[in-house]
Amino acid sequence: MNEQQQSLEDLKHIKSIMERSSRFISLSGLSGIAAGICALIGAGIASQKINCWVKGDCQLSGLIGTAGTDLLNELFWIATLTFVAAFISAFFFTYIRSKKNGIPIWGATTMRLFWNTLVPITVGGIFLIKLMELGEYQLVAPGCLIFYGLALVNASKYTLGEIRYLGYGQLLLGILNLWLIGYGLQFWAMGFGVLHIVYGIVMWYKYERKA
């Protein structure tokens, strides 16, 4: 190996160590696809519930009297289940990838990514709960998209940098949604469903296809 090649190898080594020691790079594209599919299924079920409530032919709400609060309750559970399913399936694929690459899943980089994503999400969640208490339901979908977008842009410093574009996409949808109130579910499905899937496919193609 001549000196130039040696230098190039050294630089590559430096770059790889810097990335592996400061960023959580096991995040799998398949995680994005799985989370997106969960979101689309959740949005589909929610939309059915809303439709049947609007038409007034739900069997359930007929049984339990006050249909309005019943619907909100159901939507809340659908949202929670969707989130849990998306989180578990996303974790699953990332876990597999980290095993394959021999990088421990729980380390300093994971902690940092977790914390920096959790802060905007938690604050956003509290804010949205307060909005719901005040009855401002139309702001919940754009709020989810905006806070999630901010969390992703923040997270991009601690994991694969491309996630920033997914964040920008969520922010754009969230802001548009502010002026197109009433299409919350559609925007929500677009952001949490379609964007995740597109991002996941691109990332998988870029980093994992060969592996």
């Binding site: 130039q4 230098s7 050294d10 080594h13 430096i14 160590i17 020691s21 400061s22």
Partner: protein
Amino acid sequence: MKNPIEHLNKIFDSRIRLGIMSALMVNDAVSFNELKELLDITDGNLASHLKTLEETEYVKVQKGFIGRKTNTTYSITRSGEKAFKQHLEALTKMIGSVK
């Protein structure tokens, strides 16, 4: 033109020492165990390379405790940072001199 090889730091000839410095450049402090996992080497091997870097004062040690277990972390010194940057520059120049 000066030969860029002159600016290459002998200390960083070792891939392991280069790796330790790279990790410390982008992190405030890294523990012994994290370095071990990152570089995939044995305790003894890592300790001896860290010793060399400590002796040249490129790296400083902080000894602490997590519960009852000792937790030793390492961070880069001012002079270590300077030396590493010079070495990086020299490496980049080496590649540039292909033309």
